[in-house]
Symmetry: D3
Subunit: 319 residues, 6 copies
């Protein structure tokens, strides 16, 4: 039996074994009365549904959601989506399976760019900030939240929903935002602060563990926008002489970055920098979704299948 390909390359023709992270596990009762296991598995490249249809009773004790697993199975199409049909599953035994090539990193859905590279890029951006107060603010945020900022996803499901997604999102925004800020004679220090901090509340909104994000109590009750504003307020309060108008402008970018009240921003952009951050954020989130949807569409057609979240099909290019 050969090793399964990466999930992003899985086809109905593939069968074999592989290591994955199991992020969801449910014992379902089938219509015929028998039970089966409904799972979500991921590796660094993609995520997929998996089903174990026989001997569910036996295998269900072999692992839990949140654990790395070793499976045997084959690819299968269901309603036009590729999934895995399993014949065997157990939790990984790290010591032993490492010899077979098991590596944690390769089993967690991840941003395509190396995290260290993105992190250095972000630090360089911060180091280049001209105004002392803003540079100190951003440096502290990077220091205080380094481990989360390096590994968090940018959202639970919608965009950049994988390890390092948060970092990928803000480094790409910073790359684009710097150019845009200069093009419009905006205050790049403020734009960068807005980019780094606009979603900072997500570090408290989401709990990210074992490849899966979930909402915290504060995430559900307060939301990442208000949480982020509080974090900015607390951080700036700790910096002696932080100018009040800068503090207010940074909080404004965080508060208004969804652009419209119906999208969850309690105030709408009123500064040039807030308009830029909202626009760059929206474009980066949308293009991440679009590119993922195009990459994951399995058909040989010119267009993807209907994308429910975007409410449209997407063009993949001429056949």
């Amino acid at each position: 039996m050969q090793r399964l390909p990466r999930l992003s390359a899985l086809t109905p023709e593939d069968s074999g074994w592989g290591f994955f992270l199991c992020t969801y596990k449910e014992l379902r009762a089938g219509r015929s009365g028998s039970e089966f296991l409904f799972l979500t598995l991921q590796d660094s490249t993609a995520q997929t549904v998996a089903k174990l249809l026989t001997d569910a009773e036996r295998y269900k004790k072999e692992f839990e959601a949140g654990e790395f697993v070793r499976v045997e199975g084959r690819g299968s199409l269901y309603n036009g989506q590729i999934q895995l049909v399993l014949s065997n599953i157990r939790r990984v035994n790290p010591d032993q399976d490492r010899q077979q090539g098991f590596r944690e990193d390769e089993c967690v859905l991840s941003a395509p760019r190396p995290i260290d590279e993105m992190w250095e890029e972000l630090k360089a951006h911060v180091a280049g900030v001209k105004r002392d107060h803003i540079r100190i603010l951003l440096s502290r945020v990077l220091t205080d939240h380094e481990s989360q900022l390096r590994t968090w996803p940018a959202a639970q499901t919608i965009h950049h929903a994988y390890r390092g997604g948060f970092l990928e999102h803000i480094t790409k925004m910073a790359e684009v935002g710097e150019f845009v800020a200069n093009a419009y004679q905006a205050d790049w220090d403020l734009v960068l602060a807005g980019i780094v901090l606009h979603d900072i509340g997500k570090l408290q909104e989401l709990a990210y563990d074992a490849g899966a994000g979930s909402y915290t109590r504060d995430g559900n009750l307060v939301g990442h926008i208000a949480l982020g504003i509080i974090m900015v307020r607390e951080a700036t309060s700790g910096i002696s002489g932080f100018p009040d108008d800068l503090r207010a402008q940074i909080e404004h970018v965080v508060a208004s970055h969804h652009g419209l009240r119906e999208y969850g921003s309690p105030v709408e952009p009123k500064t040039i920098e807030a308009f830029i951050v909202a626009s760059v954020d929206d474009l980066d989130a949308k293009l991440n979704q679009v590119k993922r949807a195009i990459a994951e569409d399995p058909s040989g057609e010119e267009f993807t299948a209907w994308n429910k979240r975007l409410g449209r099909v997407l063009y993949k290019g001429p056949r």
Copy 2:
């Protein structure tokens, strides 16, 4: 010349002199080329437009917006609204005019209930809170912001937009909210906390001075909802052992009290207490508008004139 009646009782038949607060002053060029003064005057009962059509050049130096004034003039209907046409205006000379009956209090648009009475009522509510942490929190808020809480309006223009309006709004909400909370076995401590704190950010959102409210920098850039959450966070942080779930629930009521995201709430109600506060707030604000609109409508008809903000006429009762 006799004294003008209170503005709430002004008719086109009245003429005479009176003391008022001038909250707006503009020199306008009339179409005939001549200039006139366009003013807003108020006393404790109502607010009205006033115009001085002759000798504007001379009178405009006699006072500024924000000052108490002594005027002479008469009532006049314009597009169905009562206003004052002035023949004379000057700033009040307190020492001298006090003998003529000038009293600051009577010249500032105010809530109908005495402020001391409402304040005692609110303090009694807070004293009755069962859980120590919440009672301490609310007590401190009352202590720290007493002067603002006693005099602030509840909004710049929409509802309770007068001296003591903030206090009138929350005491009425507390009266109703206590009953509703008990009726639904909700947590009255939390509902009261939500009522006292839901608009607390307005103390930073608005600057209220000389009978007129205006938006502050933080008001425009951050907004009273996020400002209020920050104030709650800072206040609870200062209380040792404040339970985190209570803190989150109180912040949630503040965050969600507009009910819907398109009305400016970044999160929507998810607790019974949040639903109650949002409902009681909405009803009290609407009924304040409705009652004012009915009271201020000068016609003898069964219905008021079209109310633009509410988008309807209102029923005043059978003729």
Copy 3:
């Protein structure tokens, strides 16, 4: 074999026998070609899906939707929802089964408060009406529709959708509405009339039978708001000297009680009493949904699962 617990307490660990009302029955073809019975069962505490997977052909003749049944089976989780998997089902034989503890009342989903108690409360409210015409109107409505008013649900599915739900809804609204009306110096007679009559058209909109509500022809074609206005018009016409402005104001409360045209009200509130009834109705309906959703959520988490109708998760309290 032991008796199954009340449905509100059912867990996947339970198995045994019980009496229920069957409100829905469908023979479905499973994917494997075999057929199974898909049912909805209820007792006074809750409602659940039930499936009979084997020998469906035989059992399907043993009962019909709308009948009380005796079943044997066990609890089972399906997509996170508890349901019953049956091994046996037959219609109740009242004479014989009564000895085993069968009672009709306990098999129909019902309001938690005793109906007689709520009915007396409502009659007391009506007896306290000051104006003769309104008291006579409400008394007649209670007399003419007593049996429906005591048993009808308040809606087909959304809120208070069980035996006595209509009565529970209006008595709770009356309890709250009386306080609110007094707090705002509103006309309590009119508010009470609005509360009793706002949904009176539902008695014609819905057919309620054997624990299930369905839409009548008039319900679909005319709707409960217009039906209710007609009922008010007919009732007031039968009362000599009923003042026309009172009649119009009561019809207005019925017509406007959904608050906005997009929610189905052909006119929007234009009287203080109409604003109050619309607000109290909305809050009571929402809190009923919220409390049910919290009570029925089976998980041990702080928040319920996603509630599709409310479009959010709900907070159940700290773990």
Copy 4:
């Protein structure tokens, strides 16, 4: 001095005298302190604003709104709209002015078709109804409300807002609706009933007097849709053996004729006949507005000025 042309033909070059109906009169204070009269005048062809700028004090006693007047003045453009600037106005003295050519009919804004002709047409439609119950119903409605049906406008301001407008609207709808009903094998009896009755509630919603419509108490509080349904219910109740499904379908057409809930229909079309009536009503109302707007636009351009109600300019044809 010559006679002014009909208002539909008035230009800034015209001056002279004429007879009109005054439908609105207000004494306004100009910015220069002087007062002037702001009026609305109409004849059978059009309606216009008129102003009397000098000696307002004297002339204001010479007539009241609702009276026929004799004026002297000239056409004038104001913001691109033609209006009358008056130098003289007094109420008509019928005996004397009739010799000068005064005729009431020619001073009231009216439908272009003769009322008798439309009335005969409508009666013929009703006489052709096949089903006895519906024919009796419609005949009675025509008999009972003849005088209103012949003179009422179809709306206060939006479309067919002139004498005979109601009749013009329903006869045109009947002409078109008959063809459409046949084209789609719909029930023409029901469509005709819907056309005659869909706005019947307006006879109670509006008070029409002296060329001007205003809302009644029931119009504001209940609205013409519910009022119309009540009228249908009362009328069908008086006809022995009126089939219940026909009654419900007719009420449904009335209830749903605005097409969508946000346009004020408490239920939306669910029968073929209801779809047809809603469509034919909407088209006739829109085309009446469009044709009026095109006819009344004074410019020599290809397009009308911006039409606020329709939210667009309209094409008048190539120059």
Copy 5:
């Protein structure tokens, strides 16, 4: 074994054999691990889901989507919808099966009226156009696209989604539109041009083959409204001396025929003819949906099941 009835008449009691067009074919993995074929079959009267549950592996090679097939099976209800459960399926062998009564026409979902009859009617309309330029334009369009115009559906799924649906839609619109245009003194030549051309872009938007429509690249990327305008522009460019204002008015009808921008029209109706075409199009499309929904509803109830696209139930008539 007898022949199955037409699909529009199929009941759960029927079993036998028949010829159909297969428009969709998918091999699905059932929960029990076995695979089955999920198909869509149609004849000239209706379309239905079909499933082959046993020996899917063998039968799947016997035919492809887009081919005519011979099946054996029986009617079955699933979630209240009739479908076919098959025991046998193979592609049609035209030579041999024609003797058994196979005819292509009878296996493709089709408009109820004969295509030749509708085509002659449309040609007669065009022949009657008064203005030469418009008549030449329409004649050329009919000549150039005859084969598509005769066979195309009017939409992929929503209305008239069958062979000849396009032609049925525009001939019915022409029948109604001619009357309406005359009733409102509109320009019938322009209205007819708008009717024939409003959806002409669908000939490029959709690919229609073997009884199924799908979106083309241009359909997805440009859309039928812009495609149609381009076709009009190209066709009028080829006609010497085509008046520019006529060209613009025809393009306007095409551009605005969805009525509102949110329905996809880049401009909204600004001519009488555009209002008429948009109205007649909307009514014909809606009534086609309504009539289909009523005809296809299998229950014996007064109302259809919930119609998701229309967002309501529909009245079928008294029982």
Copy 6:
């Protein structure tokens, strides 16, 4: 008498003479019965309202809208907006006034960057296009429409509404779009084509003359989006071998560049390049409005007055 400053620098303290373009002229009847001239004047830096209140009858013959004029007058505040009150006005006599410093260029509201410089930049972008077909397409468009592309505004009123505004808009979009396209590995050739062509239909939608834009017949009836698609289609048809998928993608960017159907795009973005162009277009249009609003706000406050089009105040910076 000294020369007036540039309009962007005008204050109520200024008086003197100057040369301007008059873009609007209307004789208005004041309330006092006298007439005055209401004008719009512009120079290269700003546009303002001007009024001539005395001797309007005489001066109105001295010039027409669309002509350059020489005026005498003074700055004046009206409702917080600066305007000119004139005492004298006549049309420019070019020969004579040129000696006084009259220059056409300086009297037409214009983009701040020199047009030649922007034009060279745009040509360089086009010259750098890699794919021959797209480069040829864009080169031809630049050649064929050079004079319009150099002088047209980007919109009638909303953004870049001045001479050269179209060119300023697309060169800025190209500057930003190139960076964004590279950042997301998008097809820069296509993005550039989209930027150059997205508003190309405005050259037919608007007529721009004498400093003022107005809608053409095609602009009103067809709209710039469909007009632009037609222009692309015609241009690509003239280029031998233009690949069909490129043509469709370019048309798609034009069709979808408003982003949403309710903003007038008949299709919504389905390619990465379309998302980018829509985003860059929206941001550039908004920032142009924001910067203008900030620059033109005359007050000394931190925030501008309420901006009706953007629905908010804007932050100008700390005082």
